[in-house]
């Protein structure tokens, strides 16, 4: 289990390299980039914030998008709640580690003790290597003359695509993804940067609520 945790940590560390690089190319400072990985510690939200800023949107539009993407972590918390330690600082610390990777590793175990070990081992491995990867990616990009020459503006969409792909295994999410892309592009010329994302979020929430009635 520890080996699995380390394996996931190394994979996410490699992916943090690209976060550090994209964040720096988007114009965030080294300290801001590292603060996101330490304090936000949820990959898709971090990529969204720096992606919106890098494309010329306000940091507030980026922050709203990051929070919306972070909403899924609340559902992970529900599944983990009965498996993790109850009160106090341990729960407060555990909350910081509630992300895709730790949830996937902690659920589907034979016992609560195994779930806890998987959760903490994965959380610590990913946290350590995610932050190390971010720092290296950011430092390496600081040393570069012009990120755009190296195609760094094409990196964020590829990162979002890689995050999206595993969620597209059925017809409905595929249709939602296509619809969301079209709606965002149609709105884009008429509203401030970053706002098309918020429009898409509102529409998909309405869709979800209507569908759950029928």
């Amino acid at each position: 289990m520890i080996r699995d945790a380390l394996g996931i940590g190394i994979a996410t560390g490699a992916y943090a390299l690209s976060f550090g690089a994209i964040s720096t190319a988007a114009g965030l400072s080294l300290l801001q980039t590292c603060a996101l990985s330490v304090l936000m510690f949820t990959g898709a939200s971090q990529f969204a914030l720096v992606g919106v800023v890098g494309a010329g949107g306000s940091v507030w539009a980026g922050a709203a998008t990051a929070a919306l993407l972070g909403s899924r972590n609340a559902l992970y918390g529900v599944r983990l709640s009965s498996l993790l330690e109850r009160g106090g600082w341990r729960r407060a610390a555990a909350a910081h580690f509630v992300i895709d990777e730790t949830t996937a590793m902690a659920i589907a175990r034979d016992s609560v003790a195994e779930s806890r070990l998987a959760f903490w081992a994965t959380g610590l491995a990913v946290f350590t290597l995610w932050n190390l990867g971010t720092l290296i990616g950011a430092l390496a990009t600081h040393a570069l003359p012009d990120p755009k020459v190296l195609g760094f503006d094409a990196a964020p969409p590829a990162a979002f695509l890689a995050l999206l792909a595993p969620r597209l295994r059925a017809r409905e999410p595929m249709a939602i993804a296509l619809g969301a892309g079209v709606v965002a592009l149609v709105c884009l010329p008429f509203v401030p940067a970053g706002v098309p994302l918020l429009i898409v979020a509102v529409l998909v929430a309405i869709f979800g609520v209507l569908r759950s009635r029928g």
Binding site: L75, L163, I176
Partner: protein, 99 residues
Amino acid sequence: MMWAGVLVACASCYALKLAGLSLPASVLQDARVQRTVPLVPVALLAALVATQTFSTGHHLVLDVRAAALAVAIVAVLLRAPFLVVVASAAATAALLRLL
């Protein structure tokens, strides 16, 4: 301004994680919440892919980023690791700009 946005976003994301562990399960096990929340990342990530590939500021544009996205799609279909997907897209854009 940047720092304020970064810190507010970090606090919001932490609050959502803590809420999941702390709120009564009945709130978050509501059928509407369970049905809707997983759709949000799908829609937002797709909108991010579309806007960051096909626009600059308020203008829709078709440039080397579209080719880079096509390469990234192929990489994803071949189940390439995350870093390879991102690096192949960046390399495609860089190479096409050199031509």
